[in-house]
């Protein structure tokens, strides 16, 4: 299984409405600063859509968002362009990018401390149904591919994977762990 076009979502506590609104200028300032790794282009504001993509910072190779899909808030990184290396490299890249974004948002005073990491749960999606259909066998394979990454991300701690079994959905798993991961996670 080739894990391209990964989305990594770190769940956060439900942010106050003011924080979500304040994210729009924050994301605009990221484009202006040009400091993210990716070429950033635009901000798509979907706050009017219930349980939708939230506020999305559109990039050329990847998007960042304060995502509310599935009714859970989280900081999401979606890698659109292919990445070099193997599956572990790609997972590590996505996790690092998400952690970096989360760290940056938490530190931004304009968001008034409204971004609070859950620390126990996150979600990994493969946004390509041809590479990774949401079937039982693909879920098994995905579980195996994730193991080395989760070993590092969760420092060897136990975890539980939960899948949505609707075959129409993207292949995605929610990872739950007793281990509380921190934003300064080195992923080394």
């Amino acid at each position: 299984m080739e894990l391209e076009h990964l989305a990594f979502k770190l769940f956060i506590a439900p942010p106050p409405e003011a924080t979500v609104a304040a994210l729009v200028p924050v994301f605009h300032s990221w484009i202006t600063a040009g400091s993210a790794e990716e070429l950033l282009i635009d901000v798509a504001d979907y706050r009017h859509v219930p349980e939708g993509p939230g506020v999305v910072l559109i990039g050329f190779r990847a998007d960042y968002s304060l995502d509310h899909s599935g009714g859970r808030w989280g900081i999401r990184y979606y890698r659109k362009a292919p990445l070099a290396g193997g599956n572990l490299d790609r997972l590590l890249h996505a996790a690092r990018a998400t952690l970096n974004a989360c760290r940056r948002l938490q530190a931004d005073s304009r968001l008034s401390g409204g971004i609070r990491l859950d620390g126990h749960e996150f979600e990994i999606q493969v946004c390509d149904r041809l590479l990774a259909p949401n079937t039982a066998s693909a879920q098994q394979e995905f579980t195996a591919e994730l193991a080395p990454f989760l070993e590092r991300f969760l420092r060897g701690g136990p975890y539980r994977l939960t899948y949505d079994n609707d075959p129409r959905s993207l292949l995605a798993t929610r990872v739950t762990s007793e281990y509380i991961f921190e934003l300064d996670h080195s992923l080394s």
Partner: protein, 749 residues
């Protein structure tokens, strides 16, 4: 861009209708040619527009941060159109004739939104879908996946026949003359790619309505508006259409004119073709601002236009497709999945509110049509799947998009309404107030459109927010039924001219700085198929528009006469008084910097992000399309040779030459597809006359065609196929040269 792109073609090869598969293959080859610099950028722009692949804001590689214009450093590639960078994300428009969709089609659009876009599918004011932020190299996969469920993007944009819209209640409306759905569907597929509709100077929009008095079809704002009517002849009830022509919104709206009060259904397709021919022949091509049919009609006058169309009709060769569907159309009847039912009182005020505004009784007793009100026309992929489940569970997949950017589920047994409501509510799709003041229509505006001047979606979202927070609470029923429609610029994609309260984006200076404004347009008529247009009153700063809405609605509520429409109220009040009512709001408050930013966009407002619109596309002659197709076939022949398929390569090279020759012959008339006829006419018109002759090599390149045509089925090895490919390329180059010589402006002495 997507790793899986090459694999989709193989995966879906068995599932694609041949014509749609070929369409996508051609476009994919054109992408390849453009990347190699072998296809002119203007030609490529028009060809991608005709596949619904549209540009988006910032695709010129520049973006204002409110202070300075910054370059977006995309990788270097050939452009995908004039001033349009290859890697800049774009919009994919998806045509949905009459708005009709199956559950599988909803699910496919959901998949595409998740994998290629930002998770949102957007419904337009012409019943299309749009996906934003799509990379051009992903579009062939998008198109193949759509084609696998019977959807095409062909001619969704560009100078072509756009989506054929139709009343979403067709077939279930108690007031209709008959169900227009099968006629709309047939017209859509008949005109798609039709030779009579390939040489337009601009777009051409048809619409169907089942009756004259409701708004649902908006027949009078279209280039071709068709309203169902019947008449009795010799005791037999005949179906036909009132045919309206030359309507259109845009900066200056034109009401369509009644071309005929009865066109029999058997004449629908030939008359549409005849109109297409007249428009193609006489419509403006150079000045895009005067290229819509409405201007031609204005210049010619209705009588002359009508004479030309009828004369053209007489010249058409009969086509069995004009009538082969009529018997089935007459019998057409969607089925219900569940038995008709009745509704018991629920005791829930919430449910009753939804029931009043979001459902309407069908003409079939015991059934209802249910409107799903979408916020700004947006729906998530997950919601689309939930909707697919619902339409499977309660209906025979009878769901349609609407021009108010909503869905209508038809054929819901009234007994099922509480259960359906519960499921819609769980999916966040049960917002009440469909068709009312909070069901705001908005074009994409500055969010994604290159032409956007003000943030139509930002304003719509803000009005929705204020309404949700109680701004509607003191309004009576009649006032809550007013309609608000917003366009980001004067081009009217948000249909502001036909709203009670319409707004379109303009820019004004305040204390030397640009500030986003909206022109207030009041009293447009939605009913009577968009029977009248609104009155522009004043330009108001964007941040004052919620107050404009508040004042106007309260005044309407307080001062209207019993039963008076908003249009009537506006007319009775008069422009001066309306202007006076809003006068203080037309000024930007001194020192308030918030007025220098738009709704939902914190940047200091500027017009620097505006680009050149692609709405009109490039005017490309049909010859250029044929020559481009010939180029692509040579390219495909080279690929076949690389795959070590010399026989196929040789035959493709021959066909490429035929295509080029056909293009030149078509300058006089269409020779059809018979190779012998194409070659004979090419010889007579271009070789014997020496028009084709190159100044240096004379007629040598034409001889390549003649030789290939003399033995079209000969066996090829790699060498002979390679030679023929080179000859084909030279022949096509010579075709270009010939066309350029013929089309060059004469030089005055």
């Amino acid at each position: 861009m997507k790793v899986s792109n090459p694999a989709w073609k193989d995966r879906l090869s068995e599932r694609l209708p041949e014509n749609l598969a070929r369409e996508v293959d051609i476009f994919e080859a054109e992408i390849g040619l453009r990347k190699q610099g072998k296809l002119d950028e203007k030609l490529f722009a028009e060809t991608r527009l005709r596949r619904g692949v549209y540009g988006q804001r910032y695709d010129n590689g520049q973006r204002s941060d409110g202070r300075v214009l910054r370059r977006l450093p995309y990788p270097e590639h050939p452009s995908k159109g004039p001033n349009t960078l290859w890697d800049a994300p774009g919009m994919q428009r998806i045509k949905v004739p009459g708005g009709g969709l199956s559950a599988a089609q909803l699910e496919t659009i959901a998949e595409l939104a998740e994998e290629y876009s930002d998770g949102i599918a957007h419904i337009t004011t012409r019943q299309d879908f749009q996906l934003h932020y799509v990379h051009i190299e992903n579009t062939p996969s998008v198109m193949r996946r759509l084609a696998a469920v019977g959807i095409t993007t062909r001619e969704a944009c560009g100078n072509a026949v756009r989506n054929v819209t139709a009343c979403p209640y067709a077939g279930v409306c108690p007031d209709e003359a008959f169900d227009v759905s099968p006629y709309a569907t047939r017209l859509a597929w008949h005109l798609m790619g039709h030779p009579d509709c390939q040489d337009f100077g601009r777009k051409f929009k048809p619409a169907f309505s089942g009756c004259g008095n409701h708004a649902c079809g908006l027949a009078k704002i279209h280039d071709l508006g068709l309203v169902a009517v019947t008449r009795e002849e010799n005791g037999v009830l005949q179906r036909g259409f009132q045919m309206y022509v030359g309507g259109g919104l845009g900066p200056v709206p034109y009401q369509a004119q009644l071309f005929s009060d009865f066109i029999p259904v058997a004449e629908l397709l030939p008359m549409a073709q005849a109109i297409g021919r007249v428009y193609a022949r006489l419509g403006e091509k150079k000045n895009r601002n005067r290229a819509r049919l409405k201007f031609l009609l204005h210049d010619l006058g209705l009588e002359k236009f009508r004479d030309l169309v009828f004369a053209e009709r007489q010249r058409l060769e009969p086509d069995p497709r004009w009538t082969d569907y009529l018997a089935a159309a007459e019998q057409n009847q969607e089925a219900a999945l569940r038995p008709a039912g009745e509704l018991s009182p629920s005791g829930s005020e919430k449910f009753e509110r939804w029931l009043r505004a979001n459902t309407r009784a069908q003409k079939q007793p015991g059934y209802a049509a249910v409107t799903i009100k979408l916020p700004l026309g947006d729906i998530t992929a997950r919601q689309l799947r939930q909707l697919a489940d619902m339409v499977r569970r309660y209906t025979c997949e009878t769901v349609r998009t609407t021009v108010e950017q909503n869905f209508v589920i038809r054929w819901v047994s009234r007994g099922d309404l509480p259960a359906l409501y519960a499921e819609l509510e769980a999916a966040h799709l049960a917002e009440p107030g469909a068709g009312g003041i909070a069901d705001i229509v908005s074009c994409p505006g500055t969010d994604t459109c290159k032409l956007g001047i003000s943030s139509s979606r930002g304003l719509a979202a803000e009005l929705r927010r204020q309404f949700a927070q109680g701004a509607l609470d003191d309004l009576d029923e009649a006032t809550r039924k007013l309609r608000i429609k917003i366009s980001g610029c004067f081009n009217s994609c948000g249909q502001h001219h036909i709203a009670d309260l319409g707004f379109y984006g303009v820019s004004r200076k305040a204390a030397g700085q640009a500030a986003p404004h909206f022109q207030v347009v009041l009293g447009g008529e939605w009913e009577d198929n968009a029977g009248a247009y609104g009155l522009p009153i004043a330009a108001v700063p964007a941040k004052h528009i919620p107050e404009v809405v508040r004042r106007l609605t309260r005044r309407f509520q307080a001062d209207r006469q019993p039963g008076q429409s908003f249009r009537g109220f506006v007319q009775s009040l008069g422009r001066s008084e309306l202007k006076a009512l809003l006068e203080d709001l037309t000024r930007v408050p001194a020192g308030d910097a918030s007025f220098l930013s738009d709704w939902g966009d914190p940047r200091v407002y500027s017009l620097e992000d505006m680009g050149v619109g692609e709405c009109a596309g490039e005017v490309i002659s049909p010859v250029e399309f044929d020559l481009a197709a010939a180029e692509r076939q040579v390219f495909e022949a080279q690929l076949a040779l690389e795959r070590q398929q010399p026989q196929a390569a040789g035959q493709m090279a021959y066909r490429a030459m035929l295509q080029g020759a056909k293009g030149l012959v078509k300058l006089n008339h269409n020779p059809g597809d018979d190779p012998a006829r194409i070659v004979a006419e090419f010889r007579a018109q271009y070789f014997d006359t020496r028009l084709f002759f190159d100044p240096f090599v004379g007629g040598q390149f034409a001889q390549y065609l003649f030789a290939a045509h003399a033995s079209p089925d000969r066996a090829h090895d790699a060498a002979s196929a390679g030679t023929l490919i080179r000859e084909a390329q030279l022949f096509i180059d010579a075709c270009h040269g010939c066309y350029n010589r013929l089309s060059a402006e004469p030089v005055e002495a």
